[in-house]
């Protein structure tokens, strides 16, 4: 079943990254391997500008479901950008047992 706009069929294999909350996105980041995140990043980063252009045809507060999923997927791209571009590992280096929870967030 397709969840993303048809123009973004190339992102369909990564549709499981279309997660609404930060807690879900952070958990998936920690549960993923670097090759998995690298692959997702490489494909999604190439479509980031297109995705913004597509979503911006709509009102942010009234996105169609498929556009909202696309935005959620791009929020996951932001989430994996640190592991992929900087850390080369899923966790923040030198963060040990430290943990921070996002207790209130604007969910799209």
């Amino acid at each position: 079943m397709s969840t993303l706009p048809t123009e973004f069929a190339d992102l369909e294999p990564y549709a499981d990254w279309a997660l609404a909350t930060e807690a879900e996105r952070y958990a998936k980041r920690l549960a993923s391997s670097m090759p998995q995140m690298q692959e997702f990043y490489d494909v999604a980063f190439g479509r980031l500008e297109d995705a913004i252009t597509y979503c911006d045809k709509f009102d942010l507060d009234d996105l169609p479901d498929d556009a909202r999923s696309l935005l959620h997927l791009m929020q996951s791209l932001v989430m994996v950008s640190f592991p992929v571009e900087v850390w080369k590992q899923p966790r923040v280096p030198d963060s040990g047992a430290a943990w921070a929870e996002l207790i209130r967030e604007p969910v799209v």
Binding site: E49, I52, C55, L60, L71, Q75, A97, A100, E101, I103
Partner: protein
């Protein structure tokens, strides 16, 4: 060599001669007796910010705060008269906690017409008056007027709700002093898109303020976060603030910040280039009134390369203003001598579209990456301070706010001990 002009005395620290320049004793961060004294000397008689008015949008909106440092739980509520009040969260019948959900020790929020106790259904109006007693006829001469919820002083400044357990404390605005005057008019009310983080930290509350009140650590601890050439440059230059100021017990640091937007796009990561955002926030300033010019207390040196001001509102609030038009608060709520709850709130103007939404997302995500590094360092520091192998530590001129914080805390504890004839054993 200084890159930015220091005061005539040669350093920021010597500009405030009461501070001294000698190493600072950190026993104040590991001694349980000192912590107990801090609770009485500081937390139980100082204005404390418990949140913002946007969390109480309507009549009957409320939230609770579990404040271990005060040894109490408070209800913050907006009444029918529009007034925001703070009430002790304890039923006058037999002391049950009045407002909670599932777990009595967890904070909650919501909206209601009145508060009803889960135990025997006593009910209270939004202003705390006792309005209904189950089987009232069974009681003896019960005058409901005398059994309202116990109120706590509550005052609001620029939308920030403060409480104070001390009925004799001077008014909030007077307590906040010159910084409040200089900040008033900032468009806080426009910045209602909020990301709220909470973390339990294994360190004394003052150590996290220390970590955020100096940027001397930034080029070192966070060096991997910048691209390599930039990290090398930052490391060799080190850090110097534009300006420091003390309005005891409060203080502030004003810093440059070249990343919003950066002079050279090669300095930043690929995702930052596309989304035009990063640690210092979205690069494009929102189109609202009140940001240009800024209120006079922000960027007090009037510096062109200005990036961020951080105000330390004593005892446990930091208020940061970022050049691209957003603000951030930190709160440090002690729960034990070696533990505290850290809260961070990022406030943006609501995004108008997906592009702006993702720029804010990147700023929020980046914030957490940094905060986790900062937090973990603190546990390591607390553990080693607790060994008492070393007790006195040299603080440099860029750590003036730390020197000031520990001095203010020690002075207040000392004053409290003298008033109450309490003698320290450590």
């Amino acid at each position: 060599m200084s890159h930015f002009t220091k005061p005539a005395e040669g350093s920021w620290t010597e500009h405030f001669p009461d501070l001294g320049t000698e190493p600072v004793d950190y026993t104040d961060s590991i001694d349980p007796e000192f912590y107990e004294a801090e609770r009485n000397a500081i937390f139980k008689r100082t204005w404390l910010n418990v949140g913002r008015v946007e969390r109480l949008p309507r009549t009957g909106s409320y939230f609770t705060r579990e404040l271990a440092c005060l040894g109490t739980s408070l209800i913050i509520v907006k009444g029918r008269d529009g007034v925001i009040r703070a009430l002790h969260n304890v039923c006058r019948h037999r002391g049950n906690k009045l407002v909670w959900n599932d777990f009595p020790n967890e904070e909650t929020s919501g909206s209601c017409r009145q508060f009803a106790c889960k135990y025997h259904a006593w009910r209270y109006d939004l202003d705390g008056k006792l309005s209904y007693v189950q089987q009232e006829g069974e009681f003896f001469d019960l005058d409901k007027q005398e059994y309202g919820l116990v109120s706590v002083r509550c005052e609001v400044w620029e939308g920030f709700i403060f409480i104070n357990l001390d009925d004799n404390a001077r008014p909030l605005r007077e307590y906040l002093g010159k910084y409040a005057e200089g900040i008033e008019g900032y468009p806080f009310h426009e910045m209602t898109e909020v990301y709220s983080y909470r973390a339990e930290i294994g360190s004394n509350w003052k150590l996290f303020i220390d970590a955020f009140a100096e940027f001397y650590h930034a080029p070192v601890l966070h060096q991997k976060q910048a691209v390599k050439d930039e990290a090398d440059k930052l490391m060799s230059t080190g850090f110097e603030a534009l300006h420091y100021d003390l309005q005891s017990p409060h203080s502030m640091i004003s810093s440059w910040g070249g990343m919003s937007p950066p002079k050279d796009l090669a300095m930043v990561k690929p995702i930052e280039r596309v989304l035009r955002s990063g640690l210092f926030g979205p690069w494009d300033r929102p189109d609202i009134e009140g940001l240009d010019p800024l209120p006079p207390g922000i960027n007090p040196a009037g510096a062109k390369p200005w990036g961020v001001d951080e105000f330390e509102i004593f005892p446990n609030m930091s208020l940061l203003f970022w050049a691209p038009g957003w603000y951030l608060t930190y709160h440090y709520w002690p729960t034990a001598v070696d533990k505290h709850i850290f809260e961070a709130n990022l406030y943006f103007v609501p995004p108008k579209n997906t592009r702006e939404r993702l720029a804010q997302e990147l700023a929020a995500v980046t914030f957490k990456e940094y905060a986790l590094q900062d937090a973990n360092t603190l546990e390591a520091t607390q553990t080693m301070l607790a060994t008492r192998t070393v007790t006195d530590f040299p603080l440099c001129d860029q750590e003036i706010l730390l020197r000031h914080l520990h001095k203010v805390v020690k002075d207040k504890v000392q004053e409290y001990r003298e008033e109450n004839n309490v003698h320290a054993t450590n």
